[in-house]
């Protein structure tokens, strides 16, 4: 009954009026931060760090506040994905694919409730898994070397083609553009910079947040200006929010499967929430088949990525707490906070500082219920923020995007780059090229290349090394199946759906 005594300890720490208050504040701020494009969980948490210090919060209280913001942002990201077709942060990107079509079909309220419940299921299961098996699960990270990671990224790319099913060539083109952008910057394996033209701002590469905000938010502004607001995405109306029990029941397996896959993706350092939401979406799309109607606004299409990314957010805490390896940008920030509070995460954290670990787990559980309450019955409060007339909202969103991007590195260069991405996004829309693969290319390309080069360094250039472990081989088989199956299956199924808007 270790678990119960540990949880009792945790709740003993977390259930003080002050920590509860901080959890509510954190959840509220987090949801807003998540919903605003350009402000994602990592800069949201970073912005709040000085506040925790100036308030003089102790370790547990600071962690409660910051992790509530973290979880809150993972919930909040979906709101603008669904209502504006602009992802609030990068893991919410996949939610635009079905969430926005649902909203356009007049089911915005349903989409918000389904994704909110899916977020809750994903985050709750991940937190429970964190409590039950974190120290054992940390071992998974030891099984993944360069060859295994490379195979994992290859799997992600192999399934990309199936995403925009009306034109695979365009999706492939877009993902190659993303991969090319990922090459910019310092080459980790030679110590030299590539394609930077001597510009110091480019030597760390292109931040994917800059690309996301540019491709989605800024290009939306251009479309808005061009059409004088007529055909803009902004301005979906939200009627009465009711609970679509039928949809929730139908997506139950989707939520459970996606939570499991998302959690595992979160545990692997470097994969993180974005890969989690992408893989779960593609997996569910594959399971549902052509008849599933993914991309047209189906409940499973919003449930899968949201359960996946929230479970991944919980999963990413596993390597951070047990190994000190941050699995994502946000956990890197949380790691920094822990170190500043003189807590060193690592294999001994669970035994050395049980109060911190179990206090954190208990507060995550509390935060989760607070977030469910905020994001389902009270979702209209947040929606109202986005419900102002487009002519006012869009400049506001743009301003916040600029501030958010500027806060990344404090340089105007990122703003110029963001506008360049906006122009690119606008051109892509005109040519009907999907922008999501571009982002995935940037997001995964850097790690994919690095792991390939590492594998080659370790094996002395022997390519068979890539297939040398059982895990890598299984991932390769999945990748090959994932790439070819849609091409062959299509002949036996009905013709491809034409659903991109």
């Amino acid at each position: 009954m270790d678990l119960f005594s540990n949880l009792a300890l945790g709740f003993g720490v977390a259930l003080s009026p002050m920590t509860l208050f901080l959890a509510v504040v954190g959840c509220f701020l987090g949801t807003i931060i998540g919903a605003l494009p350009g402000l994602g969980p990592s800069n949201g948490v970073a912005i709040l760090i000085p506040i925790t210090f100036s308030l003089g919060l102790d370790a547990t209280a600071a962690l409660v506040l910051l992790t509530s913001v973290y979880y809150g942002a993972m919930y909040g990201g979906r709101i603008s994905s669904i209502l504006l077709n602009i992802p609030g942060d990068e893991p919410a990107m996949m939610t635009t694919l079905d969430g926005y079509p649902m909203a356009k079909n007049g089911r915005a309220g349903d989409a918000l409730v389904i994704s909110g419940v899916a977020s809750f299921v994903g985050a709750l299961l991940a937190t429970l898994a964190l409590a039950l098996v974190a120290p054992y699960l940390a071992r998974i990270a030891y099984k993944f070397g360069p060859a295994e990671y490379f195979a994992l990224y290859a799997l992600a790319f192999a399934t990309l083609g199936g995403m925009a099913s009306n034109n695979q060539a365009k999706a492939a083109l877009a993902s190659f553009i993303g991969l090319a952008i990922a090459l910019i910057g310092l080459d980790n394996n030679s110590g030299f910079t590539r394609f930077t033209g001597g510009n110091l701002h480019l030597s760390d590469g292109v931040d994917f947040l800059v690309a996301i905000v540019g491709l989605f938010a800024v290009s939306e502004v251009f479309v808005f200006i061009e059409t004088h607001g007529k055909s803009s995405a902004v301005g979906v109306t939200l009627g009465k929010v009711t609970v679509p029990w039928k949809d929730l029941w139908e997506t139950r397996w989707t939520m459970l499967r996606s939570s499991a896959v998302g959690f595992v993706a979160g545990i692997l350092p470097g994969a993180g929430a974005s890969l989690g939401s992408f893989m779960t979406y593609m997996m569910e799309k594959g399971i549902a088949g052509e008849k599933g109607g993914f991309g047209t606004g189906v409940a499973k299409g919003v449930a899968a990525p949201e359960a996946g990314n929230n479970a991944a957010a919980g999963g990413a805490l596993v390597p951070m707490l047990t190994l000190g390896v941050p699995g994502s940008g946000t956990t890197a920030v949380l790691l920094a906070v822990l170190m500043t509070l003189n807590i060193t995460p690592g294999p001994t954290l669970f035994t050395d500082r049980p109060d911190v670990v179990w206090g954190l787990i208990a507060s995550l559980l509390i935060a989760n219920f607070v977030l469910l309450a905020m994001n389902v019955p009270m979702v209209k409060v947040f929606v109202k923020i986005l419900m102002v007339p487009p002519a006012i909202l869009l400049p506001g969103v743009t301003m916040i995007s600029f501030v958010g991007i500027y806060s990344l590195s404090g340089s105007y260069f990122d703003l110029v780059l963001m506008i360049a991405f906006g122009v690119m996004g606008y051109a892509f829309r005109k040519m009907d090229i999907p922008t999501v693969p571009v982002i995935l290319g940037i997001l995964l390309g850097y790690q994919m290349e690095n792991n390939l080069r590492h594998a080659m360094t370790l094996s002395g250039g022997e390519w068979t090394y890539l297939f040398s472990s059982p895990i890598a081989s299984v991932l390769w088989v999945a990748a090959i199946l994932g790439f070819f199956a849609p091409i062959f299956l299509r002949r036996f199924l009905k013709k491809p759906q034409l659903t991109e808007d």
Partner: protein
Amino acid sequence: MKFTFLKALGTSAAISLMAASSAWSTECIAPANPGGGWDFTCRQIGKILFDIGQVDAPVQVTNMAGAGGGLAFSTVVAERNTDADLIVAASSATTTRLAQKAFGDATADQVRFVGAIGGDPGVIVVAKDSPFQTLGDMVEAIKADPASVAFAGGSAAGGFDHMKPLMVLKAAGFDDITAVKYIGVDGGADAITQTVGGFTQAMTGDMSEIVGFIKSGEVRALAVLTEERVPGFEDIPTAKEQGFDVVAVNWRGLYVPGGISDADFQKWADRLQAVADSAEWKEAMAANGLAPFTKVGGDFQSWIDEVIAQTEDLSREIGVIQ
């Protein structure tokens, strides 16, 4: 509708205030994203400066990631050269990159190095079941077959973590250092997981990165690259006592803009010394595996110049600069 608009405006105003606030007097630039050593330096020194009353408002930490610190360096030189309320976190990585001309045309004399107040000792670590028992065993194995041992570290090729094993091998008389395998991963903890997982044979990094893993017994440190054994880790032998005369400490310190007055420079040197002497800093060092390494003021600058010259020679040899 009016009301909701005001609410939206208020929210965005509050958030932009938080993001771009400049209400604090002293600013510490961490030239990297939150989570790394520079961020730690800024946040910890900033917090202690305020706690012990050296500054009267909390120090604002700005993360200015880019070009491995080059962006912050060039910004300070070009735009903030006379700002006496600005400090910037620095470490061995700063001098390594200056030596390798990784910051464009920037040179070390464009700023003033205030001092180092702690050092993260370099370590070479293997998995607990590794055949290597001493640093000598490993050096012999590499001499016999350079491809048999691959190192993982938290810096890119040519970075400080890469340099450490090469310095040891040079000291042992092994000159074919370009044949040594090294992969640069995302941070020391990641390098350890690669080593424990058996993908690389050894990890090169800083003491702070391995503390938890040493305690849990998953890895063994073959050597620490300091003059003396590190307090709290007395059972880890130094490279020196094993016959390899190498000292590589990742110091943690600050630089300030080059154009400030000598009086302002002295003010920062005194403040930094006060942090170094504080009980809070000693506690923070102990908790994070840092060893005492205090060089503040004038001597520090000459030590920096020497380190840069050495790094330049080694970098030329491994081919990261021409």
